[in-house]
């Protein structure tokens, strides 16, 4: 039975007082006329969308005559990147990004989805296929001819920072090192997400090493994509299937009282909030239990820190006396957790680290947004604020010889790729930095320190 209540997302439409603060902060509408702004797209346009219901989430639900006749009032909502800066600044709590996501879902339900958006939504499937032969997959995906073809045929931007397959998935590393894994009474569950599994297993390795260092056994149960790429491309029913499967696989651990910890801020946000809310699953007891048990890894580590349960044996990240300058960007998806910036609390304890906090609004990529040909330049223009900030830190470090800047840090994978693409400077997950400061991890080579 679909929801019949005035749910939180729909109701929040009523909270708009038209103040325009969201419009003045929106990083997308600032750089393009294609997106008229959050207020226009969400609380304002929503009053004119009679397809589906303003307060009604289920895209499998009734389709109005308007929609059936193919009359769509607006398409510009598709240019919302979903970064959630609007939600962050709204003084009255309108769930602007979610209203937009639902509008996109209704459009997708009516018009059908392009092959490109369907593929981008199923990055897990692509990643799994590629991981069978990573070298071949990397060649097929990354050679210039393929990129040009992908741009022309599918609308995947030629220059966008697509990830590379790693030669070993996280699962294979786990089975290869099974004997070395810590067994303990204290257990946590790790939700790795697709990018860690196939492209960046070293982020997961760093997380597992840190957690084991703290005395926790890390359980990595079978899991699938969190569904966010489908949610942001408007494929709600498929996303619901993914989420329900994750719930079914994780619920026994939740019921056992283990925290579900993730290193991908967007995956954890999806488990915590996006899926339950957008799909109207908040009344499902298991969905709710998983939502409450899910933590961003630094949120959880900060909690341990507050309880005085973190070791204080952190060491400098490099040998020189000069400070190690680290620009840190808290991704939009992390800020949407509304937990502050917990990585900063932990990284600040690393000796000799000169943390520089970026206040840029967004790197621009916003999940799969910046990969789309028609949105690539918008994403780069949005990210300019961040790239310029990093460049300024870098320039200052050279001029004053005050320290060295060899990395940036960011909690979200696509944002790190965009950061590297926009600045040319390698980017690391804060957990990699923490693992390195614990002496567990080689920051340059991205592998366990004792691997050699």
């Amino acid at each position: 039975m679909p929801a019949t209540s005035l749910n939180a997302v729909g109701l929040s439409l009523n909270d708009c007082i038209k103040c325009n603060i969201c419009t003045s902060y929106c990083p997308v509408s600032q750089v393009t006329d294609s997106f008229p702004g959050p207020k226009y797209a969400a609380p304002q346009s929503e009053r004119f969308r009679d397809f589906g219901h303003p307060f009604y989430a289920d895209d499998a639900g009734p389709i109005s005559r308007t929609l059936a006749a193919g009359r769509m009032p607006d398409a510009s909502v598709d240019f919302c990147s979903g970064c959630r800066v609007c939600n962050e600044v709204c003084p009255t709590g309108v769930r602007i990004a979610e209203i937009n996501a639902r509008a996109r879902a209704r459009i997708a339900a009516a018009r059908g989805l392009s092959l490109r958006n369907r593929l981008l939504g199923r990055n897990e499937l692509l990643a799994r296929v590629g991981s069978i032969a990573p070298g071949l997959a990397n060649f097929l995906l990354h050679n210039p001819l393929s990129r040009r073809l992908a741009d022309a045929l599918f609308g995947v931007a030629e220059k966008a920072p697509l990830p590379r397959w790693h030669n070993e998935t996280l699962n294979r590393w786990l089975s290869r090192t099974r004997a070395q894994r810590l067994r303990s009474q204290q257990k946590v569950v790790y939700f790795h997400g697709c990018a860690t599994q196939y492209y960046e297993p070293f982020v997961g390795i760093a997380a597992i090493l840190v957690l084991e260092h703290l005395g926790y056994e890390v359980i990595v149960p079978p899991q699938n994509c969190c569904g966010l790429p489908m949610l942001s491309n408007g494929e709600f029913s498929a996303a619901e299937g993914y989420h329900r499967r994750n719930v079914a696989r994780l619920i026994e651990f939740v019921n056992a009282g283990y925290p579900i910890i993730g290193t991908s801020t967007s995956c954890t946000l999806t488990l915590k909030e996006e899926a339950p809310e957008l799909l109207d699953l908040e009344n499902d007891a298991d969905v709710r239990a998983l939502k409450l048990a899910t933590w961003d890894i630094f949120e959880w580590l900060r909690d341990r820190l507050d309880q005085g349960r973190l070791p204080s044996d952190l060491r400098p990240l490099h040998q020189s006396d000069r400070p190690f300058i680290l620009p840190y960007h808290a991704p939009c998806q992390l800020r949407a957790h509304r937990i502050g910036k917990p990585a900063l609390d932990l990284l600040a304890r690393i000796p000799g680290l000169d943390l520089r906090e970026s206040h840029a609004r967004c790197c621009g990529i916003a999940g799969t947004y910046g990969y789309k040909t028609e949105k690539y330049q918008i994403a780069m223009d949005v990210g300019a604020e961040l790239f310029d900030y990093v460049a300024a830190q870098s320039a200052a470090s050279d001029r004053e010889a005050a320290g060295s800047l060899s990395f940036t840090a960011c909690d979200s994978e696509t944002c790190r790729w965009q950061l590297e693409h926009g600045t040319g400077i390698p980017s690391r997950h804060p957990i990699e930095l923490l693992a390195a400061a614990c002496g567990l991890y080689d920051l340059q080579a991205r592998r366990p320190a004792d691997a050699n």
């Binding site: 929801a3 005035l6 909270d15 038209k18 969308r49 510009s76």
Partner: protein
Amino acid sequence: MKRMQTEILVIGGGATGTGVAWDAALRGFRTVLVEKRDLTHGTTGRYHGLLHSGARYVLKDAASAVECISENRILRRTHTHCIEDTSGFFVVAPEDEDDYPDRFAAACRRLDVPCTEIPPGAALRREPLLNPRISRVFELPDAAADSFLATHATAQGARQAGATLLPYHELTRLHLSGGDGNRAVSAATVLDTVSGRELRIDADLVINAAGAWSGWVAALAGVEVKMILGKGVMLATNARLTNTVINRCKMPGDGDILVPIHTVSVIGTTDVQVADPENLSIEQWEVDLMLTEGDKLVPGLSRSRILRAWAGVRPLYQETQPAGEPAPAAGDPRSNGLPAQDSPQYSRDATRALALLNHRQRDGLRGLITITGGKWTTFRLMAESAVDAACGQLGVSRPCRTAHTPVPGVEQGHYWLGHRLNEVEEENLQSELICECELVTRSMLEGAAQRNPTVTLDDLRRDVRLGMGPCQGGFCTYRAVGILHSLRAGKALPAAAEWNVAHMQSPAHHHRDDTGPAPADDSRRRSAAVDPRASVSQPNLLLRDFLQERWKGVAPILWGQQLRQERLDELIYLSILNADHLPVDDEESPLSSFFRSDSSPSTSNL
């Protein structure tokens, strides 16, 4: 004093009067209409927007039901673009009596009102916010009607047929001629409330279509027309709660209709008998009652954001009044602020069927016909009967043509909610928006201000929905005033062809066509709001009046989100613009005092 001569003079610029002018002009009569304020300023502009299927009255008022279903079918052809084909549900709530639904369905069949029972589950799938405890649902051809646009379209039809419409002309005197046995109304004096000049209009026949003011007009001719004035209070929600008209399947009562009209849902109404048609006060108990009853249709309605409350006065008429039961005086039985349970809902029981009073037969007075009662849905039929009677008095036989003559704009097809958004998107007009809530572009506002008779910003609100959204004028009032000021200061545009009112609702109209048909000579332009010679066009006065008008409807529902909104609006206008100390204290527009009255909620029951 200026003089005019006409065959038919119509008093009242609501749906009925405008319909009469349209009908009379189409039959070839020289026709003049006078209205003391803007078209639709009265009851027409204050109703919930329901195009009745007639089902509401099948058991209580069969005559009205038959009129409604017949007119429903006609208006869908003649006023297509003013109607959204929402369809209507009659739902049986747990509180409702058991045998009413079956009697209701039988009566619908008997009166040829198409009625289909559908499973409650199917209704809930279409309208998920509907009360899940409803036990039965009937679907009927109710619809939502834009009474502003419909009246303007009818007015344009009338003008194109040669009628002259004079808004802001207030009737002050009816001139009688002849002695006993041969008395006749022969002329009227009207006051141009903008210029202050009087005008005498000689007419062969006067049709009193003044709605709730009909009794007052008749009194000027020395005849008594005793109106039953039923005040109804309505609330609008911030966004639509349903896309279908929802009625309770029970004897008509208070708060049992929920109409999706444009971007909002309207819950209505109360029915309180009043003596004065200008008594539009809103009592606390009326607001509370609408919320309580609304929750029975859509649980949670009372917690949803309410934008505004307003009242309209039904012009009901019953020739034979029940003996020995005097109509309760205004305010009297309700002085405790609650509806008296033991006194009958007098106006609720009055018939909604139209009333045609031919004063030649009724009072021995020639030259005057009163058309009143009825519903918005039956305005065309009312006009037809009135002009039929006029033909009788004038001794001519000319058939009515309105049932087969579409008004300008019908080619657009039925209204649909996404229409404005769609046009704004297709033409990329986002940066042209003046009223962001209701998607009113600069060109819509300028077109309406210059080419439609406009005295106050409130007139533009009725034309293009300026200020009718969530912020209730917070962000568009100062913009609109600035635009009118620059129009007023700039050189007048070349005398434009008559603006097609069908395009008043269209953000993109200026991209699609330039001019409509040339204006008739006597089609009078009175856009005082952009006339540099008119004192009413002073920007400060326009601003103050509109803020006062918007405040009137917000004050009774000032809680929750709308209170927060009003606080922001207050900061904009009182703190930044110092709007309560504008140097116009001694200036008045024709509506200043009307906007000021009743601006605070009654405290009798707080």
